[in-house]
């Protein structure tokens, strides 16, 4: 379980958000939504201590991750897999090596065991034929999938997706959304999805956190969101592409 308590962050005296508090239960998929620049990715980087808050705390399974020393923090981070916005694949190595990378350093598996695990992860993301491809040969959607395969390779308890569908065509975005749902179900992973794509939210989320006006403006289940009359949340939802299909939640 992840508990975010009274988290406040600013950069050079510019407040990003203040007093953010919510909880992510095990097995849930929580979508963090909000306008571009509202600090969604900043929040994600606080959850695994890539950034430190000005005040407040993030408890992972009851442990304040920011209070841990660096060595313990690094061990703790292995509970998380992250799919970065730009996939963050290592461009000096190919697809297979990117996915195998954490295994080579953090496990004592043999080469054939590593190969089996990597191929299994690539099969999960429907990329079994791309193992030998260089990262420069991969399309945007394929990069996201390889990033996802790398994120799940150490079988993390939590997985965080930073704008998983940004820059993708609607069909590929749908495939990524389906993968996120499949991962959550198949591997029982707790997921945090940072996005402003309402179509994605409706496909994958159990709960929604809405960051707006430098605070957590709204938090609730997907069903509650559909019925919410919170004016800024309704504004955000109806302004999105999902407006086209608005009959699904009105």
């Amino acid at each position: 379980m992840i508990e975010i308590k009274n988290l406040t962050k600013s950069f050079n005296n510019n407040l990003v958000w203040a007093d953010v508090t919510f909880r992510i239960d095990d097995g849930d998929t929580v979508a963090v939504i909000g306008r571009s620049g509202c600090g969604k990715s900043v929040l994600l980087k606080h959850i695994n201590a890539l950034l430190y808050p000005d005040s407040g705390e993030v408890l992972i399974d009851g442990e304040n991750i920011h209070a841990l020393d660096y060595v313990s923090q690094r061990k703790f981070r292995q509970k998380f897999g992250i799919l970065f916005q730009g996939s963050a694949l290592f461009d000096s190595i190919n697809t297979f090596e990117n996915v195998a990378f954490p295994l080579r350093y953090f496990t004592k598996l043999t080469e054939s065991e590593i190969s089996d695990k990597v191929m299994q992860a690539l099969t999960y993301v429907n990329l079994e034929g791309a193992a030998k491809k260089e990262t420069s040969e991969l399309s945007g959607g394929m990069r996201k999938r390889v990033g996802l395969a790398r994120a799940i390779i150490l079988e993390p308890k939590y997985i965080m997706y930073d704008e998983p569908t940004s820059g993708l065509d609607p069909k590929t975005a749908d495939e990524i959304n389906e993968l996120i749902t499949a991962m959550a179900q198949r591997l029982s992973i707790t997921s945090i999805v940072i996005t402003h794509d309402m179509h994605s939210v409706l496909q994958v989320a159990d709960k929604v956190a809405f960051l707006d006006e430098k605070k957590l403006s709204w938090f609730g289940t997907l069903e509650e969101m559909k019925k919410s009359e919170h004016p800024r949340l309704v504004d955000f939802i109806t302004a999105s592409e999902y407006q086209i299909k608005s009959n699904q939640y009105t």
Binding site: R74, F80, I82, Q85, G86, A88, F90, D91
Partner: protein
């Protein structure tokens, strides 16, 4: 204030690198790659720099001392001593600030802006140990080796230039080089190249590791790493000469 802040960040990165240097398992593979990239891959350019530096020095010394009625062996002494004390280390350092410094800053800068460093950290890696330590170690280990290469080819270039131009016979050149050879000069040059290796790689790692702002930020980091590397080399050269000679 800005300079102090930068110095603080640079010192912190050095401290982290020092602390991380015990995690040999993390950077072992990368260290080997870096030793090849910094050392082996730089040998051709260093040979070229050495040969031309020695050759030009010999030709110019012969030209300047043409009517000075001094023994020809003096040219060998001047050229070889200048190469050992100053030129092999400094000119190689300036060339490597461009070749090695720019590469390191660009690699780390690109990794920073494309979130690859965040990805490493998020997997549980110590990114300083993985990326910075092997590059700095490769710099301080390989620059002295490259100094020796530059010295050998510099003196060899001097001998060749003297012979082919007809200005200094090889025997006279080498006689002068031997007559004024002091081992301390080699130790001094060796020490300088060690310091220059440290400066170039740490400045480049610092600029690249903290790069921000996309392609423009990487470009800025690379430029700053190269320019600052060159300036610090000249500054360190002066300080070492003032302290140790």
């Amino acid at each position: 204030m800005y300079a102090l802040k930068e110095l603080g960040k640079y010192t912190t990165l050095l401290y982290q690198a020092l602390r991380s240097s015990t995690e040999f398992g993390t950077y072992r593979k990368n260290l080997f790659h870096e030793l090849v990239k910094v050392g082996y891959d730089s040998v051709p350019i260093i040979i070229l720099v050495g040969i031309f530096t020695g050759s030009v020095m010999t030709l110019q010394s012969a030209y300047q001392l043409e009517f000075a009625f001094i023994p020809l062996s003096t040219i060998g002494a001047i050229v070889s001593e200048s190469i050992l004390i100053e030129l092999a280390a400094v000119i190689s350092g300036l060339v490597l600030a461009g070749k090695v410094g720019a590469r390191v800053a660009t690699e780390l800068g690109t990794m920073r802006v494309s979130e690859q460093i965040d990805a490493l950290e998020s997997m549980g890696f110590n990114s300083v140990s993985f990326l910075v330590v092997p590059r700095v170690l490769a710099g301080i280990l390989m620059f002295p080796v490259l100094y020796i290469v530059a010295s050998v080819f510099g003196i060899g270039g001097g001998v060749a230039a003297g012979y082919f131009s007809g200005s200094v016979p090889p025997a006279d050149f080498l006689k002068g080089a031997r007559m004024f050879f002091y081992p301390w000069n080699v130790v001094f040059g060796f020490l300088k190249s060690f310091v220059f290796g440290f400066i170039i790689t740490t400045v480049a790692c610092y600029k690249g590791y903290y790069a921000k702002g996309g392609a423009e930020g990487v470009g800025r980091a690379t430029t700053e790493a190269t320019v600052m590397g060159c300036i610090y080399i000249l500054l360190a050269d002066f300080i070492l000469a003032a302290l140790l000679l």
